[in-house]
Symmetry: D2
Subunit: 360 residues, 4 copies
């Protein structure tokens, strides 16, 4: 059950980077949503390689096909299978991976776990696996449009290494995010980030950063304590993405440096609605949304693949040295932005349906 | 399904702070483990109120009873129900909560979600809920002793507000943690923390901090990509605890400021075993343990209950002011240490059994 | 996960016949249902031993207590724990079971599975386990009253050994069922059955039969193909009850002797509603309710406990002979009627909530 | 979650009869099993249309493709996706189904449930859906070969209408079953059945029957009481197949006519192993296998599609008449034999892995 996510809107992803293809099956999608392959392709294009000069130059079209669950342009309520066939890649690029473990990749752990691994391009541990998530999330967003009209999910690059953008999460738009190739809505910092990523790449190195995600317009009442608190599910969702090392909601780690009298969000009435004067809670209290914006920050480590020689061991336990060849992302964050958005959408739609199921 | 956790070792917790009692049902526990109420009580005593001068003075014995699943001192493989009956508390202390929402508590969100709430003492949102988790984890630890002899889970207070302890996670012991009432294994900083908590309490305020948790001795191969990666399940586990706002594994947010060449953990052979020279991965690669120690850090916000007047609204939407009365923790961290340990144990036992099921 | 049932309205039962007690935790119950211990006790009393002269004379009050999830007489939406404490029984009655396996009981298989068993009174395999199911179903029925007003579940004894009752399932009422101690709404046959059961008991033997269950008033649209078809979940529910050996829906096994032209249910309009002229489908088509009454029949084998010497083996593999002592049911069917009803209610409420979740 | 089956070996099927294709994703398969498309194709060919003169003459090759989870001929432990693309069918054959509900089909109930349906060829309710199940079961059988060497599952047609075969379930082989097109291992009765099916078809009518399934060679100890008893999971598995109306295990409904003294299976030692002298329990006691052969019988109703005019209503509620055209099975049983086998294999592998997970 390792490759399933969600309770009510449950997705099952499948596929290795080098094999027949990758995809997803969605079970529990509400019926009668308008859905086309173009709806899904739009988001897949935002995560695909080759889309800009700061991501891997590998050129994969990642063309999706809906194989089931849709009839005459509408969802049927039955399982939706979306597949992206793999194009034949360059397996020869990966020969060294057959015999040695790449540092800080999953080669060794997959071998230790299963006693076998698809060593071509990372196999199941490749970020190519996230195609299924992004495809499913495109469907989730369609459902959310009906379940919570006005709900918006906007993710963006907040920091790259030491470069930090200034962004107003109350107002930031996806258009601003998409206005540059690093997906940072602070234009000046975006340019700095782009230049820095290029420089790091030219040095054969890689770099990480943080993505912030804001969710505006959720109704109060989503979240299933005590274990499926909405921040717990969001944390799991984000920490299941490749390369993530940290997760924060609301005040996050910085909130540990405040006193209760500074941190508490006073309640006030506003246009007949219960609101909070501040929002250090980040839109969630007791694991349930309170209607205020939800703020998340996710830490992504620098890409493990670098073009410098690295010390490692072979599958038979001998010391050796590896140096990456081929085409890789010097920084995963620009392509991770739609992945973060996708995981947020999958959590939200699941909780929306669960709430409707139990409470009506 | 909000109150269930785990796939193979599945727990179902139940209970409000003021009601018949609280407890847990464990389904899927391996048979023939030695288990007594004393085994469970030991951990419950570490999380109970009234245990020291820096936690709430409320005096609850929290005496547990095993109602099923154990016969002649051994687990049967059938569901284990552990219950702690509530003693009659002081409902009159909570009268104001019936009519107004406490800031940064779950009063408003529970009402918004369910249209009803048990307003006595926080109900299901009370930290009293964690008794079931800690009880279940005492059983999980028994199972882990067999499944992974030598495995150790040690959690401790790493920071309180701005005070930061120096701790060597490779060697820290539970004895060091338990040697003082704040559960910080750096004695000098522990004293500072205790003094600071007392001062904050005297001001009617509260304070937060971070807990670090180290897991030593896991075999390589635990974790279920792509969604049930072990760090994803740990993140969910920790973020489901009351008052948590952030989670890190390995290098965490600080890792975003390193380059790949600095962050990657070189593989080396050591006594015939694959090891890593550094451990910025924090013992997990591709969502699967690699046998190195796992490091986690969890952010806890300052307790929402403070003894200062706060602005809020009534259930009928009128502005009002609330000031806590009664007995409360000025800082949740000392009592949260066994909760963090508990959640780690629950994740580990679940993954151990899942790995055994699929791979043998 | 052996002791959990349901997806949206999920119950976790616990308890052995001789131990602290038995009970259930319900997760996912809709909030704001009126619920009292008396509501639950009513159904528990219908399944308890000692209720009539044809069931076991063991006198257990089976008094339930709601430990959580209810506040001021209403469900909270949080887990509801219901417990029935065991009174100290006569363990000495079971000494022989420690050393030998009772034929057609679960003694041997539990030992083979877990390497341990609670040999006192059947342990987890005792029908006492069904207390948790019946208690949960009392809550389920409360929810169904809101989710599908007018829905009725009526179960009754249809056959005992060769004695077959004549019952009109379209009109039979629970009052008719409860009018006699064998729970058969055909008064003449009921008396025959009672006399026969008494005679069989006097011979130290036991007897089985079939229970029919009719569900009237479901809306069209419940059931989750392709695996959680409503008849599939009903089959699982019934076949999980102790002593069941067969399950039928609609035309059942007899339907295999008809041709398609005889078996098909023609559609007709009736008061603006789609109805079927006949109902050999038994209210279900393609795994989904069509609004017509659902008919089920469940086969119960004769009670395994008999007062005659039987050939068996000891736990150490030696041939021996066993003869039951103590107090037992000569026929489980009268007490199984509320169990069948209970399992039907649990399936229906789960599907009602799932349908509401996905489709609204 | 309607299209998922299994806990540890979990399958997710997808696909409509007329759409992109049908298939399955298997999550939790043990790694390092030899697996090829030919292994799967063998079973798919046994369920495909057009295979003999007594099934539908529709000629679909149903060629499968493994899209993930297998590398160099071995399972990886990652999700296995198997797909069969649909060839373009004759949608014009189904035009009438757009506007009217076929009697005893799922047209009306799907519409009532989802407010939409794929009316081409039955959509998700078509037996074509079982391709995913049969494909997954081919993988399950590979796993069972390792988990329980010697385990055998043999299903066969036991009755067609009033014609009943004589079969010894202790010794019947798959070769005997496959020796004729009706899949009945009693050659004389098989011929009678074939002749009868042809006659019924020539009359434009259809016919049902029962399939018996015997499972030999399970170890003692599989099954997860109290809800996931192995007969409960088998019942659900079988009752989720299209056209099933009844399920029996062991003595079944006939067992209700025996007394306890006749029905109980005495234990005896045989070659150092606990055996039963008789096997009315059908290999299962208390929901757990006892090592004796498991016997199941499943009732299949006559095919709903018949070539006679039938009374029905249109989607707008007007009375009309329908008469099937095109190519259909006059009797589903020959093609249902591999489906029954498949469902048995899926239940067994799931329980084998669950038992290994919990007990080791």
């Amino acid at each position: 059950m390792s490759s399933q996510f969600g309770q009510a809107f449950r997705i099952s992803t499948w596929g290795e980077s080098h094999g027949g293809g990758v995809g997803v099956v969605i079970d529990g999608c509400p019926p009668r949503l308008e859905l086309s392959e173009a709806d899904i392709q739009r988001d897949l294009d935002r995560r695909r390689p080759g889309q800009s000069e700061i991501v891997t130059p590998r050129d994969e079209a990642d063309q999706c096909r809906i194989l089931s669950g849709v009839f005459q342009g509408q969802t049927l309520g039955t399982p939706i299978c979306v597949a992206v066939m793999n194009k034949d890649a360059r397996p020869e690029s990966y020969r060294e991976m057959e015999t040695a473990y790449r540092p800080s990749h999953a080669d060794y752990t997959y071998q230790a776990k299963y006693g076998i691994r698809n060593w071509q391009g990372g196999g199941r541990a490749s970020a190519r696996e996230t195609i299924g998530r992004v495809a499913a999330a495109a469907v989730a967003k369609k459902a959310l449009t009906q379940l919570a009209p006005g709900l918006e999910i906007v993710a963006y690059v907040k920091t790259i290494h030491e470069i930090k953008a200034y962004v107003n999460p109350e107002t930031v738009t996806m258009e601003e995010v998409e206005s540059n190739i690093v997906r940072c809505p602070d234009p000046a910092k975006a340019q700095e980030m782009i230049d820095f990523i290029k420089q790091v790449r030219s040095e054969g190195d890689s770099v990480g950063g943080t993505i912030e995600c804001v969710i505006r317009g959720t109704p109060a009442g989503w979240g299933e304590p005590v274990f499926d608190k909405i921040e717990a599910d969001l944390a799991k969702a984000m920490m299941s993405l490749p390369a993530t090392k940290g997760f924060e909601v609301g005040s996050g780690f910085a909130g540990t440096r405040l006193r209760g009298s500074e941190h508490n969000d006073a309640f006030v009435m506003e246009s007949g609605k219960v609101r909070t004067r501040t929002n250090l809670s980040g839109g969630i209290q007791g694991g349930i949304t309170n209607g205020e914006p939800i703020f998340l920050r996710i830490a992504f480590k620098p890409t493990a693949t670098i073009f410098k020689p690295q010390e490692t061991v072979t599958v038979t336990g001998e010391a050796t040295e590896l140096q990456a060849r081929g085409r890789h992302d010097p920084c995963v964050l620009p392509r991770a932005v739609p992945m973060v958005e996708a995981m947020a959408a999958l959590v939200l739609v699941d909780h929306a349906l669960r709430q409707r199921g139990q409470v009506g």
